[in-house]
Subunit: 140 residues, 3 copies
């Protein structure tokens, strides 16, 4: 079984590493702009980095969920390629948001598009499984 | 194997779609009440919608975790029905909180009750598996 | 298959229970320091408990992800022991942060160390599976 999910595992691991990188950037920004915990607001530069990390963190569980659903019910390779593109767009989102709220928009739309694509692949795969198992329909 | 988890997959997918809906409501509220990122506070109407989304997002990983544990170790169908009820209660929570902090309370207690039920089912299923595999006890 | 993941399931369940405990502590602190939703700031005592819970919640999905990757691709027992240690350190982190920002530091470093250990075990297991499946290399 492991080889049916190893690519999904690899993308998940890269996702965790990216989240760890974002968390370290917030720690560095706390030092740079003297924002001590438990405070979470400071100069605009800090606020942007902080919000960028929070936003990536909010979407992380949704991303992991549809990555695995698309990978298990549709196709592992396709889902994993989408996953890598999502993580790249997330990196650009974080860098863009750190510079200005406007520069986060491009990668944000790309992230949303990839997430919807993974949702679409998951839906197709799950519907196919539901129809074939419960109704005996074989579409493909 | 896929048919042993397809209902859990379907409920997870619905959960991701619900989270996406909540995120879109926050974006709409940001426009309506002129709260530009990275700011996260505005008039009370905005604050309630924002907090409703944050709360749903905080509980999402816990919900998905016990949905799958209950579905794998106890019973897929039972866990999936609980999952659907949880998502409905979450929708009511979000709508209620958008109206007033008080109106979030009913669905909040229902959400908590379903979560504890899923925790109970997971505990029963995992204990049964631990006892039967490591101690050779067959309860059922 | 269930016995290959039952320890991971048990640790995940304990993690959900711990998160529920943290959430209940925040509700108790809201009452004690009269901080009504949707507000999220109050006296420093409340702010610390609130931030401690948010921080644990942010890391929860990453922790669950590497717990399962390390457990599936490396070794279930080793990953589960790391998982239990992580949950204990999280408890100490929460208690420490509730007392003062400084007292959160020790458990925070321990949490980070265990997370990096789980990342290392996941990386080893996934690389091994990738190399053996796609390149036919058998390292062990």
């Amino acid at each position: 079984m492991p080889h049916h999910i190893v690519l999904l595992g690899a993308v998940t691991l890269l996702g965790v590493l990216e989240q760890a990188y974002f968390a370290l950037q917030v720690i560095a920004a706390r030092r740079k702009y003297s924002v001590s915990p438990p405070s979470t607001s400071g100069p605009p530069e800090f606020d942007r980095i902080f919000r960028a990390q929070v936003n990536c963190t909010e979407y992380f569980p949704m991303f992991i969920a549809v990555l695995w659903l698309a990978g298990i019910f549709f196709h592992q390779g396709t889902a994993s390629v989408c996953g890598i593109l999502y993580l790249l767009a997330r990196y650009n989102y974080f860098q863009g948001y750190s510079a200005s709220p406007k520069e986060r928009l491009g990668p944000m739309y790309l992230n949303a598009a990839i997430l919807w694509l993974l949702i679409g692949l998951s839906t197709a795969g799950i519907l196919h499984e539901l129809l074939s198992h419960y109704l005996g329909l074989k579409i493909i």
